[in-house]
Symmetry: C2
Subunit: 454 residues, 2 copies
């Protein structure tokens, strides 16, 4: 007998969980489509070399590799085998790996199918990814990413559309207080430039990114350790103390960055995005310029985004930005793009904590037909055909068991209504419908029942 279990970091999803997850995916998908994005899908397995080297050396370790089929050791080096050199042997016994994110496969897709694509290409992708990370609360080894990107257009209208998309999705999911933080990598470059340390932008952004966690003092300490001087910090000081609304901050930065061409370009982009946003109706989001937003990924070159809710203690539930050379690694240079991602698992946790999954989500059985005997069953089975023809989600309890057991099933199954068929119902043709939530029982003809439930 096989032991029953699943690999750590993996999950089974019950019917209720699947319904709730699909509610999130469907809400995101509907918005993607409404905004003109088209779905693509890429295979679960990519060639290992497509993925290797794209996520840093730590990322490479976390890629799940698939063992070659057949006699995979036949051609492997005795040397590696004798040395038990796992790392070197991997390349010889594994040529495929599981998708680690949706970004690299998307870049590979665009390059591979460039002749069939009309640019600008607005694609979305909702698929699982796999990472051999240490599992912990909220971190799984298999999880979904939901990405939308526009490639082949440098118009800032695209950034605005993505902000509107975030607003639409999170408002629709029922969040009432959430921030869409926006910054621009060029502004961060500009700041590094005026300090005279343009090559240290990464150290700078990594440190600034921690301001919420370790405070201003912590950031300054880290910057000193990384090689910034006290003089640099004094130049940085007005930057880190920017205050006021979006416009005030932009105005102050224009002065601070007056000698940095790239910095001013970043401010211009940011201002234009806010200008365009004024023409749009934001539903619920607070769109905030946040200079401390850096985002770790190095491929961003323009706007960067992050979404956080203020209703629940939780990390970012979405993020993205503009990049200028995503496909360069695969030989297609200078293709600009901008994209966002939704963190489905965290969104699930937020909605659960805020009790935003309504009862309706998960129940998809409108009527269970129950019966007292074989005659009632036969009668009920005919009713079932009639109401199903009217597209009502329905089933009949399949065996002859006590009414109590049928009712327990209706309850556990989350049936919205139960139809009780007995002698009287057959005689009069009037059917007793019991609403499971309210307990109210009412009598209907079949036709009235269909009208009521349609």
């Amino acid at each position: 007998m096989s032991k029953v279990g699943i690999p750590k970091g993996m999950r089974d999803f019950s019917p209720v969980e699947v319904s709730r997850r699909n509610y999130i995916f469907d809400t995101i998908r509907m918005a993607f489509k409404k905004y003109g994005f088209q779905a693509i899908e890429t295979p679960t397995m990519e060639n290992l070399q497509t993925l290797t080297g794209k996520y840093g050396s730590e990322g490479d370790q976390l890629i799940f590799k698939v063992l070659n089929s057949g006699d995979y050791l036949a051609k492997s080096s005795e040397k590696y085998l004798n040395e038990k050199n796992s790392k070197a042997l991997t390349a010889e016994i594994s040529e495929k790996a599981l998708r680690y994110d949706l970004t690299v496969p998307f870049a590979r897709y665009v390059v591979m199918h460039q002749n069939d694509i009309t640019f600008p290409f607005k694609r979305y992708q909702i698929q699982p990814v796999w990472r051999a990370d240490r599992p912990q609360k909220g971190r799984y080894r298999e999880f979904y990413q939901c990405d939308a990107d526009i490639v082949g257009s440098d118009s800032l209208i695209n950034e605005v559309e993505l902000i509107l998309l975030y607003d639409e999705v999170f408002s629709k999911l029922g969040l009432t207080d959430f921030d869409i933080k926006i910054n621009n990598r060029k502004i961060l470059s500009g700041i590094a430039e005026i300090i005279g340390k343009p090559n240290m932008i990464i150290d700078l952004t990594v440190a600034i990114d921690k301001i919420d966690k370790i405070g201003l003092d912590g950031v300054e300490k880290e910057l000193l350790e990384k090689g910034f001087t006290a003089d640099d910090l004094s130049k940085l000081n007005p930057v880190l103390h920017l205050s006021g609304g979006n416009e005030d901050k932009i105005k102050s930065l224009k002065v601070i960055l007056k000698d940095s061409e790239i910095g001013l370009k970043g401010i211009e982009e940011l201002s234009h995005i806010f200008f365009l946003l004024e023409k749009c109706k934001i539903k619920k989001a607070n769109v905030k310029f946040d200079l401390t937003l850096a985002r770790g990924l190095n491929y961003y070159t323009g706007a960067i985004f992050e979404v956080c809710t203020n209703q629940v203690q939780m990390g970012s539930i979405g993020g993205g930005g503009r990049y200028d050379d995503l496909t360069g690694l695969f030989g297609l240079k200078d293709l600009t793009g901008v994209g966002i991602s939704f963190g489905a698992d965290r969104i699930y946790d937020v909605l659960e904590e805020l009790n935003l999954f309504t009862e309706k989500i998960g129940s998809n059985l409108s009527v269970l037909i129950t019966h007292f005997d074989q005659t009632a069953f036969d009668y009920g089975f005919e009713i079932l055909q009639t109401i199903r023809a009217a597209n009502i989600h329905s089933e009949i309890y399949p065996s002859m068991v006590k009414m109590q057991k049928q009712m327990k099933y209706a309850n556990d199954r989350g049936a919205e209504n139960v139809l009780v068929i007995g002698e009287e119902e057959i005689k009069t043709g009037l059917l007793t419908l019991k609403n499971m939530a309210s307990g109210i029982q009412e009598k209907y003809t079949v036709q009235d029942l269909i009208l009521k439930l349609s």
Copy 2:
């Protein structure tokens, strides 16, 4: 630069392909829900030992194994390494594998979650599976299965429901001539019994299963080779020459099988299914008793099904049956169940060949807004906000380019309509809507446009 490609037997899906595939999945999913089935999802990776030994030794070879993370060779046997013993080493360096079908994970799920499940449990599952098979036309290494099963109920009403489900889905997909073939394993057992070779039922069914391919003579030749005698064949002869409609065949078989208890039980089950079906309205299917239907899988114990279309040369597009001990391997004995599966890839090919994917499927852009200059763009961007608020799928061409290029994009993108914004439209407020299929242009106010497109 990385070479651009994907592993053999794997596929990218373009926007049109994703839309068409989702049309198939959605049609199946809607029917599953309507019939009261609930979705579960299981992880992509199962423990290797959960899968090993469930698909025969040939199947075991086709399971994709995932390499353990980290220094996976550290604890492996020098002996296997020195011998280059791939087979023995696998168990030491791989403990996880990719889902090979949906049936075994479902059985594992039922056993693992048995305390949370109310039986009868009607579950559906639409997820990809992976097999390291040699790729060929129509056979891929990653493909979707769409399964529905009822476990924990031996009522034959379940068989009937599954037949109705097949009828509903394939009718809805536009097929007009297809057979749902039905047989019963007990009848086949009965036949083996009256020949006096009850242990040779598998040889018998495997041979009978080939009657369409190799003819009656071929089947007889194969049976002789397997150890059946000329006398056995003469007893089999009336069985293989059964003719007439479902009722005629059943009547003849009752005589032939009069001395086999199990055979008569099979006939009784089959008759009852046909009796129940008479109370139902079949849309398009021909439900046919087919004694030559055997289906390879050994776990079937009662009814077996297979669906074929007569409109296109293609193998079966669906199949299933009843089993009595699916979960026994995982320690839960005597749980009966019945299930069916839809072959999504073959269904895709059938619909494509019959031209049953309508134009509507794939297009999800109702309006592309085009513009002659910056003023027109700004005006169009405001229109976009208004029509999107009315849930119309729409986008604006994001950059200032020639109208011709914008029109080419609209065409390639499959936009249903184009809104052309120029000086006159801004002046009059009357918008020019061009239908891309008909070429007809008409003028609308924004409000009328929303009414027209909603």
